[in-house]
Structure formats: C-alpha cells, structure tokens
C-alpha cells in the first residue's frame, strides 16, 4: 500500500501491523454481520419455513440451517470452487482438470474486473470531495464508445485496435463525468442529482443508439450491437477458459496502480485531495478548485467508462441494454469498503466479484434470487458507514477514528 504523505513519522513495523489488523477487523465484521442478516432474509422470505416455525420450531431451525447452508454453499462453490478439486488435479498432474477447477475463480475475477474500474472511479471522487453516483451511466457511455471502435475498424492490428478502443471507452465515460463536474464548477449544481439524472439519460441513449443502423446488428430486431471484431477483443487470461477472466483484469490492476500514483504521488492528485479535504483552504493555497473538480470528475467518469469497455471488449463482445447488473452502484459500496484506497478497492472488488459470480449458481441451485447480493451489499455499506453500529454489536472499543473522507455539502450553491 502506498505510504500516505499526511503521516510525518513512520511508526514501528509491529505498530503498523496492529493498525493494519485493526483496520481489517471492522470491514470483516461488517461483511460477517451482513451475511448473517442475509441468511435471516433467506429464511424469513420462505413462507413455508415461516409457517413451520409456528408448528415445529426445532425442525424449522434445522430446515433453515439446511437452506442457508445450501445457498451460501452454492455461493462459495460458484465463486471459488472446490479447493479439493484443485489439489487433486495438481497431484494427478491433470492439466485439463486443473484448468476446469479454476473456472469459478476465473468467473470471480471476470466479475471483479468492471468492479475494480467502477470502484476506483467512486473512490477517486470521494478523495476529491465528490460523490459519483453516476458510475453506472459513465460505464454505459464508455461501453458505447468502445463497442463502436471495437466493431468499426476490422483489419487493424490488435496492438493498435485494442488501445484505440480502450481509449475511446475512457473518453466516453470521461465525457459523461465532465458534464456534472463542469456544472458543479460553473453553476454549483450538486453532482449527486446531476449524476443520477445522467444515469437515466444514459440508459435511454443506449436504447436509442441500439435502434440505429450504426449500432444495431443487421438482421436483428432486439437492441443488440454488432459484434466486436477479433482484433479489438481482450483475449482470455487463462488459456482454455474462453468465458472467464480476460486481459481487462490486467488493465484494471494497472489502472489501480495509476490511480494510486496519481492520488498519492502526483501534484494533480495532491490538488484533488486538497480540494476534497477543504475546498476553501485549497483555494487560498492557490489551487483552481473549479478546474480541479472538472478534471477529477472527468477522470472518474473515464475510469467508470473503462468498466463498460472491459465488459464489451472482454466478457460480452457486444453491447446490450442490460450490460451492467448495477456495477456502478456496487462501486459505491466498494469505495467505502476499500476506504477509498486503490488497493482496498481491488480487495473489495474481489470480494464483491465473488458474490456476483456465486449468485448465479446460487439461484440455479436453490432458487434464491440473485438480488440477495444487493441486499448484503447495502448492509455492508451501512455497517462500514456507521462503524458505531458494529462496535456496539460486538463491544469493540473505538480505536483511532478513520473518517470516510466524505462530507455532504447540501444542494445548490
């Protein structure tokens, strides 16, 4: 993790380790509590089980345990697979079986990829004192631009086509981030309302674009774009697993490193954080806060745009109107969970990616809807945002207070 400049002296290694462990305790408890409450939701939403509790509480308890175990078991099996299979395949020297056993992890990493980009977007905004609820819309704009470049120039060599498509995706998202940044800097419009509205505008824009001859696949009536050509497609990272994790993950990790450098090592990043912590002080220090806000929002939008880009170039190879299952909203939870640090965001994205990856097999196996994951995520954010709740629940003493680096400033001017 990058050292934070605001701390003048480095504490001893053990102290650092203790602080680091303390820092992990709260998120871990938050996730645990959210999962327990999620189990409660699973049980209480089953009318048969609820009636059984009135008749035979012991049997109902057993049945509840079985149901929750089946659901979370399927969730885990779908997200990290069976470690026994991995070890067995390794011992037998069976490469194909080993790769097959990697499949759930590969899907988890694939689902984590857009989450990393979107989480970085929201985290960078938080650090700059901005609230980016528009990652979802920015994601779609990025996907729109990237898919256009992706299907438009067949015959380009991949080392030109891929960077071009990725740059287009960044640009699309950046455009959608620039608008709220510009309006905030020039008119004082609160970015929360503007980004939310731009999400809805983006949905309609995608629907509209997918009806035009430019985007719609020839011969199709439904909203689906043309196929991204091979030279612009991000190839799979694990050979033999065509549907899983792709090179978008590598780009995402590079993006995390770049954001880390930008925030904590560069002058621009210093300005972002200064404006985020105290805009008045930043202005007195000679920082052009308006331009900083515009630039920060544009970069945030670009990062979210890359989330859409990696989806259309890597996982889907086409744009459909339901491309994102809400990655842009998951991103808010991710940024809070990762304390708006790039490394934290990556870790949180892996966790949420696992939840997303395991949710589909969970629904298939037990009939419990995917949306459970959204409920769990909302609970995680609540416990992270209100640490006093978790501390009270587990009777933990308050440590060094670490704020969420966010403060709302009301609407309008």
């Amino acid at each position: 993790m990058a050292a934070v400049p605001e701390r003048p002296t480095r504490p001893g290694l053990t102290r650092q380790a203790v602080t680091f462990g303390r820092g992990l305790l709260l998120p871990a408890l938050a996730i645990l509590t959210a999962l327990i409450l999620g189990a409660l939701v699973i049980v209480l939403s089953d009318p048969d089980l609820v009636t059984l509790f009135g008749v035979d509480p012991v049997a109902a308890l057993g049945a509840s345990w079985d149901l929750v175990a089946a659901a979370y078991g399927a969730l885990i099996a779908g997200s990290i697979g069976n470690p026994g299979d991995l070890v067995g395949a390794l011992a037998a020297g069976d490469l194909d079986a080993f790769v097959a056993a990697l499949d759930p992890i590969s899907v988890t990493l694939q689902r984590s990829t857009p989450l990393i980009f979107a989480g970085l977007s929201v985290a960078l905004a938080f650090r700059s004192g901005l609230f980016n609820i528009g990652a979802e819309g920015q994601l779609y704009l990025g996907a729109l631009f990237a898919v256009f470049v992706g299907f438009s120039f067949p015959g380009l060599p991949f080392f030109i086509h891929i960077p071009l498509a990725v740059a287009a995706g960044f640009l699309g998202g950046a455009l959608w981030g620039f608008i709220p940044g510009f309006l905030k800097a020039r008119t004082g419009a609160h970015e929360v309302i503007v980004t939310i509205m731009l999400n809805y505008v983006a949905y309609r824009l995608i629907d509209l674009a997918l009806k035009t001859d430019v985007f719609q696949r020839p011969g199709r009536e439904d909203p689906i774009s043309k196929e991204v050509v091979e030279s612009a497609a991000l190839p799979p990272l694990i050979p033999g697993l065509a549907a899983g994790v792709h090179w978008g993950l590598v780009i995402a990790l590079i993006a995390a490193a770049v954001v880390s450098w930008l925030l904590f090592r560069s002058t621009k990043g210093f300005e972002f954080r200064a404006v985020g912590l105290n805009p008045q002080a930043a202005r007195y220090a000679g920082i052009d806060t308006g331009r900083t806000v515009i630039l920060a929002m544009a970069v945030c939008g670009g990062l979210a745009g890359l989330a859409g880009t990696s989806e259309v170039l890597g996982s889907n190879r086409r744009l459909v109107s339901g491309l994102s299952p809400g990655y842009g909203f998951d991103a808010i939870a991710l940024a809070l969970l990762g304390r708006s640090r790039p490394l934290g965001v990556v870790a949180a994205a892996l966790l949420f990616g696992a939840l997303r990856a395991g949710a589909t097999p969970m629904q298939a196996a037990t009939g419990i809807p995917i949306d459970l994951v959204v409920v769990v995520q909302a609970l995680v954010i609540m416990f992270i945002a209100a640490p006093a709740l978790v501390r009270g629940l587990y009777r933990i003493r308050a440590g060094r207070t670490t704020g969420t680096e966010v403060f709302s400033k009301g609407w309008g001017t």
């Binding site: 419009a189 809805y200 505008v201 809807p369 609540m382 945002a385 009301g410 609407w411």
Partner: protein, 421 residues
Amino acid sequence: MTAAATTVGAGSAGLRRQQLFGFVYLALAAIIAVAFGAATEPGATSSFELNAPRVAVQLPPLVVPSAPTAYALAGLCAFLGAVQLTRGFGARNAVVLGAVVLLFIAGFLVWAASTRSMNLVGVLQGTLQRATPITFAALAGVLCERAGVVNIAIEGMLLTGAFVAAVAASATGSPWIGIIAAVVVGALLAALLAVLSIRYRVDQIIAGTVINIFAIGMTSFLSARVLQRRPELNNPDRLGPIQIPLLSDIPVVGPIVFNNNVFVYAMFVLVVLIHVALFKTRWGLRVRAVGEHPKAADTVGIDVLRTRYQNVILGGMLAGVGGAFLVLGSTGRFDREMTAGRGFIGLAAMIFGGWAPVGSFFASLVFGFADSLQARLSILNVPIPSELLLMVPYVVTILVVAGLVGRARAPAADGRPYEKE
C-alpha cells in the same frame, strides 16, 4: 464563499445572462419556425380534442392551420427574444421565461398534432396523474430539508411503499390497508435514515444511498422470491376515480381536476396544508429555524434533533403514500424498480419549487407534463423516438439543478449534522 463571488460579479454576469437568454429565445424561435412550422405539410391542420370520454357538455375540437400557427408562435417568441436582448425584462424575467417555454411547447404540439388529432384533455389528465408521485416525493423532500436533513432515500421509500402497498392490499383485499402499510414502512425507513444521519452522524448522502440500494435489493429479492410464486399477492384492488358532482361537469377543467382518485385529492389538500403549516404557523417557523440556523434554534429552546426526527419520519410517510399511489392509484401491480427515478425527480421538483410545497407542486406538473406528452405522442405515432422524449424529464432536472432555469436557495444548514455543544 460562492455567495460572495456571485455578488461581486453580479453586474456583468447579469448583463451577460440577460443577453444569453435573449439569444436562447431567438434560437428557440428559429426552431419553432424551421423544425415545427416548415416541417409540416402545406395546408395541413392540427386538431386538438377538448373532450374527455363520457362528458355531458361536448366541445368542438380546436382546429388550427399547422404552419401559420407555428410561424405566429415563432414570431411571438422572436419578439420576446429581441426585447430581452435590447432592453431586458428586469423583474419579470421569470414570467417571460415561462411564456417562452409555453410558446415552444405550443409550437411542438402544433407540429406533433399536424394532420392528426390530439386529445389535449387526455394529456392534461395524464399530467396530473404522473405528477402525483413526484409531488409526494417533493413534499417529503421539503419536510426533511426544511429541517436540515438531505433525504435522497425518497426513491427507496417510494419503491418500498409501492411493494408493501401491493402485498398488503392484495393480502387483505383492502387498498386502504395497503396505503396504511406503505405509510408505516415509509416511516420505518425514514426512522432508519434519521437514526443513521442524526444519531450516528453518517453522511446523509451515504445513508440515503444505503437505503436506496437496500430498497432496490430487498424489493427485487422479495418480488422474485415471493411474488412470482404467489402472484395472488400482487393483485390488489385499485382505487378508482371519484367524480365530484357538478364540479366535474365543468368543460375541460372538470374532467382534469375533479375526476381523480383519492391520492390526487389528498395531494391537493396536503400541498396547501403543508405550505400553510410551514410558512404561517409556529411549528413551521420552528422547523425552518432548525433548517437555517440550528444553533440559534437550540438557544431559544427548540429541540433541534427532535424536530429533525419528526420531520424526516413525516417525510417518509408521505413518500410511502407516493409509493402506494404507483400501485393502488396507477398500474395496479408491483414491478421491480418501478419507480424509475421518480424519487430523484421529486427532489429536483423540490429544488425547482424553491423548497416550498406549492412551488414543488407546480414543478412536478412540469415533469408530469413531459411524461404524459411522451406517452401520448408514442400512441399517436409521432415520428420522434420515444427514448428522446423519455430523456426530457431527466434533462430538465439537470437544467433546473444547474440553475439554468430559475435559481433557488437551500436551507442554510441543509445536510449538516447538528452537534450540541
């Protein structure tokens, strides 16, 4: 800080703003003439029906020649633009802006109804219907923000209210119990928001976002898990329109205003009631004091935190009613994510309406009109993509929040937690 900057630059900015608006008016006049006037077939007429179905007094339709009418509207708009550029309208700026918007809409309608017949009463009926949930959301926002709590969880409260209303009304067979259930659940979510933001001093926008995500996840989860297996739980009786005798027979106005369901009448009453309560009673003065200057309010013995709790919970109840309307007063069933941002549009209406109930109501009508017109035009097969029209409310909201259309001032302590010293 920003206030000081605006005062310093007010003179020159005022001039530039005036000229800018003049040019915008001229541009709109050009659009009316070219896109609406010249685009119609020569000699075509636009016809507007003025009758609702089954009314006693039948009015003849209003028929106007399309192109000449559009040109006349364009001319009027250009005249206003020219005056704006040279002299300006001073204090009457807002009125002129409203007039220009009306001229533009009239021009658009003339074009859309060219060679067709458009039922104007139907559009306006739809306007009021679609403005109702937005108004309830806006009223909820007014109550919360006047006391200094930003509530972006209204969207989630509407959604949860809609879900609970559908289930409770279906299970009991009584829409009234559905409404009560929605009010209770709205109050519960609001209480959660209040505890998080007032007691634990969680950032109010984060607390609101948590509730929104929770509401989307929970209602989607339950509708997939419970309502799909038990569809009889998503089949409530709707509350139909109640005709008010005599008043509903007034031509044009009667069917629009006096033939609605109980939600719409309740909305009329609540808008007036909350407006009077906020601005003419001791209670309202105290609420506004808490929102503007909590410390001063505390000093004179007003319980700041208690006022905030009360207002947030009252707001949640109103949002619950708005959600119940979506099911019991409108579609008759719950669908996942059926609110489609109406809670957020309600917040925009609140800002547009200057944090006042009556203003918010008129702002909601603007959004309702855009929505209703969009639905009517897609029925009429007007050659304009419905997606483009569906964007209009959201784009208008952005323009409103950016202060490009009107400018309002938020309560001074809006969004700031209060800590007693």
